[in-house]
């Protein structure tokens, strides 16, 4: 761009910049290499696997085939070799999406008031609330799910208490039902909703709320027209942080669904385990990944868009 010769000082500075840039790249290399080789390449590998044939004892036969994707929707008739529509997998995907959406909505309904309540506490109390929500966020998910199982079993705490007080005489079956899985998802991912909502509500300018009241708005109007629109980035972030892991959830349906109400996560694991159909499992994993990418795309579009004020 510039034709004029650079001054010696500028040359030194440019040389220095280059050295810093080289050093920066060099420092980032170990992390990049580890994640690339053991994180990215395996994903590429399952893309390849999804176009191969299954080997009978697990693993793959290196022959090109689109069976994995066909099997996702169709089943080959063993007698006349025609393809017949078999919606079994589609039903599992539909169910997972429904569970994940339902969980997200309930998390939002519970999480928004909670985050708002936290954000309006005095500062020293807020830290304690954040710690209380952060602890379950990082605690062992398997153990927490097992804890739910103890409570909702036929001879668990809830049924025992209800029978003890003669409200019911036979235990209500809760474990291994849709209810159990959704409860498990809700309980697993509720902190994922509360924390981003809290961080957007905490930064909110409450003078706007005051202005709303000065203009004779009711509490509900203030909530609907001022607080919720301002918290929208938190609502979107929280909803995605619940929806995405809930869609691919593995542990809650495994333990609370008892193998009867499969979700996508269990279905994929099954193909790599007892199903011994790695290409089918790979294809199913990629279809899940595509759903996640669609959700992330909507998020990034939302992020980039102009902030609308209610």
């Amino acid at each position: 761009m510039m034709d004029a010769p650079l001054s010696p000082a500028a040359l030194v500075a440019a040389e220095n910049d280059k050295a810093v840039s080289r050093r920066s790249r060099f420092l980032t290399l170990p992390a990049l290499a580890i994640v690339f080789v053991f994180g990215v390449l395996p994903l590429v590998l399952i893309c390849i696997y999804s176009f191969l044939k299954p080997y009978q004892n697990g693993g793959v036969l290196w022959q090109f085939s689109t069976d994995a994707y066909l099997n996702f929707l169709f089943q080959r008739d063993i007698f006349d070799d025609t393809l017949q529509f078999a919606p079994d997998f589609l039903i599992i995907y539909g169910r997972s999406i429904w569970y994940a959406l339902f969980t997200t909505v309930v998390c939002l309904l519970l999480g928004f008031p909670t985050a708002y309540f936290m954000a309006t506490r005095p500062p020293e109390q807020r830290n304690w609330w954040v710690l209380l929500i952060t602890i379950p966020f990082w605690s062992n998910l398997l153990v927490r799910t097992v804890a739910i199982m103890f409570i909702i079993r036929d001879e668990g705490l809830i049924n025992d208490a209800l029978i003890y007080f003669h409200i019911i005489d036979k235990p209500i079956v809760m474990l291994y039902t849709d209810f159990a899985i959704i409860l498990g998802l809700l309980y697993s991912f509720l902190p994922f909703m509360i924390l981003p909502l809290y961080s957007s509500l905490e930064k909110m300018d409450f003078r706007l709320v005051e202005a709303g009241y000065d203009l004779y708005a009711s509490r509900w109007q203030v909530l609907k027209r001022i607080i919720i629109p301002l918290a929208k980035p938190g609502i979107v972030a929280g909803s995605l942080l619940v929806f995405i892991p809930a869609l691919g959830a593995y542990v809650p349906p495994l333990i609370l669904g008892g193998g009867r109400h499969l979700m996508i996560g269990d279905l994929i694991a099954q193909q790599f385990g007892s199903g011994r159909n790695w290409p089918l499992g790979s294809a199913q994993a990629l279809i899940l990944m595509a759903a996640v990418l669609v959700a992330l795309y909507f998020y990034s579009r939302n992020e980039a868009g102009p902030v609308k004020h209610g």
Binding site: T28, A31, L45, G59, T114, V146, F150, L186, A285
Partner: protein, 271 residues
């Protein structure tokens, strides 16, 4: 003061406090019940017969529990050390420097394990190690689990270190180089000590993420490579005894300890 109380009142929305309490009950009731029953002296898993530590004693005498603990600690410590070192270097290479070509790609790759659902990472890693074992006859044993954990621990260690670096003041390092410190001296004497809280916080998170992992470990682990979460999974498929509550309580306590440490460190840096 009258003004302040009026503002606080304006912020109030009816019923929100009740919902917050309900959320806390949903999140904590199951854990607290589980912990309470671990101190049950009776053999029934649901009937409380008195306080006692007998199930902790049973757990500590269990050979399987002992070997699962050993495996878990070997895996978590190794994965934490590798991932924290990689994360510190990467954070220095990507923070407070002029954007270098490919830096946004580097961000994406480092954070990739956070975006991909864990079950996909698990089956992909399983396929990858199976291929390596099949094609080259390479099997790292427990090393496979360590590698898999290191990959997804990196972003968890990276985030708090990067956040700390962004908050740090450049003046001190500039002063050091004005006083003829070499870049290495400035790093060792100024940057590293200031960065320590971020590193500690990142280490704690990496450790807890590895220590608690179930999904990836379950798919990648070979026979005899049982970790504590896998041990619990094996236990709940058998007739259960309160021993499982005792072991679960120990695991929860480890999580709570590390999270609290990480939380306190990150809060103290802000004040």
């Amino acid at each position: 003061m009258a003004d302040l109380s009026k503002t606080l009142d304006l912020k109030r929305q009816a019923g929100f406090g009740t919902i917050a309490i309900i959320c806390l009950i949903i999140l904590y009731a199951p854990i607290l019940v589980l912990m309470l029953f671990s101190f049950n002296s009776g053999s029934q898993i649901t009937k409380f017969e008195g306080l006692g530590l007998s199930w902790y004693a049973t757990a500590f005498q269990n050979q399987e529990f002992y070997s699962a603990t050993k495996n878990t600690l070997i895996i978590s410590f190794t994965a934490t050390i590798f991932s924290t070192i990689a994360a510190v270097l990467a954070a220095i290479g990507t923070t407070r420097v002029k954007p270098w070509p490919g830096m946004s790609w580097a961000f994406m790759i480092i954070n990739l394990p956070l975006m991909v659902p864990e079950i996909i990472t698990a089956v992909a890693t399983l396929s990858f190690f199976a291929l390596i074992a099949g094609a080259f006859g390479l099997n790292f044993g427990i090393g496979n689990i360590i590698i898999a954990h290191t990959v997804f621990c990196i972003p968890f260690a990276y985030m708090p270190i990067k956040a700390r670096l962004e908050d740090m003041d450049l003046t001190l390092e500039n002063a050091a180089s004005d006083l003829y410190a070499t870049p290495w001296q400035a790093f060792k004497r100024i940057t590293l000590p200031l960065l320590m809280p971020g590193i500690a916080s990142g280490t704690a998170l990496a450790f807890i993420v590895s220590f608690d992992d179930f999904t990836i470990t379950q798919l990648v682990a070979g026979p005899g490579q049982t970790t504590l979460p896998l041990f619990i999974w094996n236990q709940i498929r058998r007739p259960m005894t309160p021993e499982i509550n005792a072991i679960s309580t120990i695991l929860l306590m480890v999580s709570i300890l590390f999270i609290s440490v990480s939380f306190i460190i990150s809060k103290s840096r802000k004040s």
